[in-house]
């Protein structure tokens, strides 16, 4: 893993978050939630700061981070790709779309390409079931995505 340097201002923001929860260990999940909002992911250093602030062991923080699938220790790519796996998208073939993204980007779900450009994630229903299957790249929504359309989407961002 590369050496991760987190900015001091963001770390201070994190400490403020802990303080806003009175450094209460019972608020760990809320703190982690906010922390992921700040950093986009939860690298080891962030977990160590949280452990220290809430007076709990790092192992415990890591245990919670690895229990909930929402939390991630991997930085998201420059262009985070999310594929909807809600019922409508699922029955309209979202699984095949995921497989195509996996094949083209050569990463699994929850991973980031080595160049840091793309990351792959699944989500549940974005409320655009009429457009199923739906793919999000960053904030942009792609509807009725077929497996053979995946390469064009990737190409748009690959430059």
């Amino acid at each position: 893993m590369a050496i991760i340097k987190l900015s001091e201002s963001k770390l201070n923001e994190l400490r403020d978050v802990c303080k806003s929860f009175n450094n209460d260990k019972g608020e760990l999940i809320n703190v982690l939630h906010k922390a992921q909002g700040i950093f986009g992911y939860l690298p080891a250093e962030v977990q160590e700061v949280i452990a220290k602030e809430l007076s709990i062991s790092v192992a415990h923080v890591y245990g919670v981070v690895t229990f909930y699938s929402f939390f991630t220790m991997l930085p998201k790519g420059e262009h985070p790709v999310s594929i909807c796996l809600g019922t409508a998208c699922y029955v309209r073939g979202a699984e095949k779309v995921i497989d195509e993204f996996k094949r083209i980007l050569n990463i699994g779900v929850g991973e980031t390409t080595p160049d840091g450009k793309f990351s792959l994630a699944c989500l549940r229903c974005v409320g655009a079931c009429g457009l199923a299957p739906v793919v999000l790249v960053g904030e942009k929504v792609y509807g009725r995505v077929a497996p053979d359309g995946v390469k064009d989407i990737v190409a748009e961002y690959a430059k």
Partner: protein, 589 residues
């Protein structure tokens, strides 16, 4: 006391309100099997995550079977602990656990000493009806402890010990479902964590998931090497527990048989760590008097209270967790390391053997000692002062492998000069013992008077934190004692906050002290065993003719011939050490 009446297996039972079904059954003489549950009664340690579901019982009127370890008794409850539904469920649970467990019991380090194996045997399991994927995880070998997570049944006892009792906080359940394991943060190996190697996780692990690094083969090889002189030292707590491995009642003292067994194993000299414990008292006691003298003389920079430093788990603990306070503990090395240093200088010279040709083996009730003897500062030109440290359990294996009938051995003595010891050294093996030994010597040295009463009863016991004031001829010395690292943390925090009024504090990492060490015969949840060992230790002390370290004639001779006096330059070089800030060892990659 409010009581409750209930029926368990057609038997009317009356218990205190709040009692669990498991305990109520036990009081009624009904033994409900348990696996994840652990209750060390005398140490006030309890683990009941209700995770394994082996202890389920049927309660009339309830749809589901209930885990008895966490189910409180209610008035009029009707419990069945062994009807067919319960037995079937229990067997199913056990088979499911076994379906994700290796079945290579024959070559497992815990073979014959495994609670899961015993249960499978008691339940008469002959076939596992569930086939499926088995979870696999990398093996993690550290200087002292091996984690073989494939054998873990997620009972969480180790986690409870590491977090609640020791507050070391290394182990936690991580990941989810089938992938969940107990691991250090970021699933690093133990040697990249804040692990102190206290071994309390190993002491409570019901299976072979956590075991010690086994050095018995290294010792067999060393003993077979004609170019080596192999000597052995045995820690005080070993003699009070080794007998258990040979079926003796807990609390049996086997000092003489142990010395005889070691001689038959082929050690050239059978020595005693107790000798080095007496030496520790000379150095540590003098250091305490020196610090007190300077403090009372008006020097406010003197670090007080002085903390004992003979427990390597404790040393690692403060190096990791309280590094800013590392000038407070005594600089005296532990008895194991003092022994090694003297053996490879003074004794090696005496018998004309080169340091490289002298192999020093230690028998310890402890796993942290394996790590301690590998620390860089305890070696000269790459040759360690103590070559191998093995646990009480490993010694028992060694004896059994060597066809020695332990029971029928005669009582033999240790060899001289490093085998002579006093009662003060023996009590190092229990909580409160080191500080009592220090008081015996410090009192006489300080006051110049003979102690009227050698037994400091006020320092003895099993309470986690104890305090006493000892009158040093008009000078009141305030003593604190803590065992279990969680309790040590409390006293340390007080010192940090400037609230501590103690002059000296004894700390031992393991609950009970070394008698409850991570390398001792497994207690399998019966804490009365640890109490019995404590009694044995005090019995051994009471039976000694010399009971004060400074009266050990071989210690007196060692100072005359070699060291000069306590805290001399030579003593500093060989018998004292310094501590490191290890908090930075755990950082972001």
């Amino acid at each position: 006391m409010e009581t409750i009446k209930l029926t368990i297996d057609n038997k009317v039972v009356e218990v205190a309100k709040g009692t669990t079904v498991l305990k109520a059954a036990k009081e009624a003489g009904i033994h409900i099997p348990t696996l994840c549950y652990l209750h060390l009664h005398d140490l006030n340690i309890e683990n009941k995550p209700a995770g394994c579901r082996i202890c389920v019982v049927e309660i009339e009127g309830r749809r589901n079977l209930a885990p008895s370890c966490v189910t409180e008794c209610l008035e009029g409850m009707v419990v069945s602990t062994h009807n067919i539904r319960v037995l079937n469920a229990r067997k199913t649970v056990l088979e499911l656990i076994l379906s994700d467990h290796p079945t290579d019991c024959l070559i497992c380090a815990k073979n014959g000493n495994c609670e899961l194996q015993t249960m499978a045997q008691e339940f008469g399991i002959r076939k596992i009806h569930y086939e499926g994927e088995q979870s696999t995880y990398r093996e993690d070998t550290s200087p002292a402890i091996i984690r073989d997570i494939d054998k873990c049944i997620m009972c969480r006892r180790c986690e409870m010990m590491c977090n609640e009792v020791q507050t070391v906080g290394v182990l936690s359940a991580v990941n989810r479902g089938f992938m969940s394991v107990v691991a250090p943060a970021f699933e690093r190996n133990l040697d990249h964590s804040e692990c102190t190697y206290c071994g309390q996780c190993v002491a409570v692990c019901p299976t072979g998931a956590l075991t010690e690094v086994d050095h018995t083969n290294n010792i067999i090889r060393a003993l077979a090497d004609p170019t080596k002189t192999v000597i052995v030292q045995t820690a005080p707590a070993v003699r009070a527990a080794l007998g258990e491995e040979f079926g003796m009642e807990p609390g049996n003292l086997v000092t003489g048989k142990m010395a005889a067994a070691l001689r038959r194993l082929g050690f050239n000299y059978v020595f005693d760590t107790d000798f080095a414990a007496d030496l520790t008292i000379m150095e540590e006691g003098t250091e305490l008097l020196d610090r007190l003298g300077r403090y009372l003389g008006g020097d406010t920079t003197v670090p007080l209270p002085m903390l004992t430093s003979c427990c390597p788990g404790w040393v690692s603990f403060f190096e990791h967790q309280f590094p800013e306070m590392r000038d407070i503990p005594s600089t005296a090395r532990s008895p194991q390391q003092m022994f090694g240093a003297i053996a490879k200088t003074y004794f090696a010279d005496k018998i004309g053997v080169k340091r490289e040709d002298l192999v020093v083996v230690s028998i310890m009730p402890c796993l942290a000692k394996k790590y301690e003897c590998q620390r860089d500062e305890f070696s000269t030109n790459g040759n360690p002062d103590v070559d191998f440290s093995i646990s009480t359990r490993e010694l028992a294996h060694l004896i059994k492998q060597s066809n020695i009938d332990f029971d029928s051995l005669p009582d033999e003595d240790f060899d001289n000069p490093l085998g002579e010891s006093t009662g003060a050294a023996v009590i190092f093996g229990t909580t409160g013992g080191v500080i009592e030994a220090a008081c015996r010597t410090a009192y006489e040295v300080h006051t110049g008077k003979k102690l009227e009463k050698i037994d400091f009863m006020e320092l003895r016991g099993m309470e986690y934190i104890r305090e006493a004031t000892i009158d040093f001829n008009g000078l009141p010395i305030k003593i604190g004692i803590a065992h279990g690292l969680g309790n040590a943390r409390k006293l340390l925090q007080d010192i940090k906050d400037g609230k501590s009024e103690f002059h000296a504090i004894e700390i031992m990492a393991c609950p009970g002290g070394c008698i409850g060490g991570g390398g001792q015969p497994l207690h399998h949840g019966d804490s009365s065993i640890i109490k019995a060992r404590q009694k044995a230790i005090y019995r051994e002390d009471a039976g000694k003719t010399i009971r004060k370290s400074h009266e050990n004639p071989f210690i007196v001779k060692l100072y005359e011939e070699f060291l000069g006096k306590p805290l001399s330059e030579k003593s500093h070089h060989l018998l004292h050490t310094h501590y490191f800030d290890k908090s930075k060892d755990v950082t972001v990659e």
